[in-house]
Amino acid sequence: MKHLPKHLRPRWRYLAVGIETWPDAEVGRRAFQRALWYGAGNLLGDAGSADAGLKLLSFSCSGGSGEAVVRVRRGHVEEARAAVACVSEVGGDPVGIRVRGISGTVRACEERYMRRAAASSTQRDVAFGDAERSAVVCGDAYDVRTESGYVGAAAFDIE
């Protein structure tokens, strides 16, 4: 089909979204997009959700942290922000989520808010509580494996 004339094309805003999970969580692109649409549908209703758009353009998540670019219709950014904040779990794994920033172009969004390479995570044994436990270390963040699942700790707790 022929392109729309410029004044009729929809205007977009691009949200840079930061994602955090436990290190063993498997969060896929499709699952995240579905969670986003469900979150928007439940919070904003079908009409509001259709207005906001919320299309996932790029997504990467591994080892407990990730990031995504979400496309939103201009003028519906606050609704989109609310819908993003309501994503509390993806496929049963709890996620921490935050809008890092908003840009008018995908390129600006990636240059300004995306870290090129995610900080690499390593496995280490640390003393936590009364025992030696294995932990996944990513920068200052330590996710310590305990009997009842992971516990989030910081470098300050371990030293």
């Binding site: 955090e20 919070l43 609310a82 309501c86 779990e89 699942g149 989030g152 300050f156």
Partner: protein
């Protein structure tokens, strides 16, 4: 702006991790509701020498956010709650009483030593004009818990939203003090202030009102810290520079 969080051993993240995340999200401080998580609550003895950091001042220095030690009293009835409030008031900057049934809600708003009535709608508890007036007169802040709005789905969330709306109408009419929180039990459940404002706006709240509720945690902590400090004698009376220690 401050956020009130649960920390390990009550939640899934230590105080330091919550502070680190809160600093990244742009909060000025966190209020730690878990009694055993900080030194003054007795957290030091429980964990041994490798226990997570428990000194609020050191964590605050490390991560650049204020760490307020608070306590959340979850009692079966007013009598037990009253005993716990008496015991804890002198050690903690913020004292919250978990509501959720009619008698506890009533007790909390009528007790000036209580700072915050937490989760008044959580159980089958109700809130009405009598409680709102008492809360205003005793300066007990009523908590608006956005946790269920962020994390529940379906009927539970609808009920939580309906309760929040009713609570808002009563509290704003009588101008009772309020606080707002996402009630996060791990760093993954924490949300940035702008996100909370956006979600609350969808639920019909005014943005500035929510920010006021987030700031209120900080002003409660500042007021009570001053009262707990050695220089405080009574409102308006402080130990001056001519007074010597006896």
């Amino acid at each position: 702006m401050y956020e009130a969080v649960h920390a390990y051993p009550d939640g899934d993240a230590t105080v330091a991790r919550q502070a680190m995340t809160a600093a990244r999200y742009g909060y000025d401080g966190i209020v730690v509701r878990t009694r055993a998580a900080l030194e003054s609550g007795g957290g030091d003895e429980t964990g041994g020498e490798n226990a997570p950091a428990t000194d609020p001042a050191a964590i605050a220095d490390e991560h650049g956010v204020d760490v307020v030690d608070a306590v959340e009293i979850d009692a079966d009835g007013p009598t037990a709650a009253s005993g716990a409030v008496g015991n804890r008031r002198a050690d903690h900057a913020v004292v919250c009483v978990v509501g959720g049934d009619d008698r506890l809600n009533r007790y909390a708003v009528e007790e000036p030593r209580v700072d915050v009535l937490a989760r008044p709608n959580a159980g089958g508890g109700g809130f009405n004009h009598v409680l709102a007036r008492a809360a205003r007169d005793n300066e007990v802040h009523v908590e608006f818990d956005l946790g269920p709005v962020l994390r529940e789905t379906g009927g539970d969330r609808v009920r939580a939203l309906a309760d929040l709306r009713k609570l808002r109408e009563i509290v704003t009419y009588y101008d009772a003090p309020h606080v707002v929180s996402a009630n996060a039990s791990s760093h993954l459940e924490l949300r940035a202030p702008r996100e909370l404002v956006a979600v609350a706006a969808e639920a019909g709240f005014d943005g500035e009102w929510i920010r006021e509720g987030l700031r209120a945690w900080g002003s409660i902590a500042a007021r009570n810290r001053e009262r707990l400090s050695g220089d405080f004698i009574e409102p308006g009376v402080r130990r001056g520079r001519y007074e010597t220690q006896r």
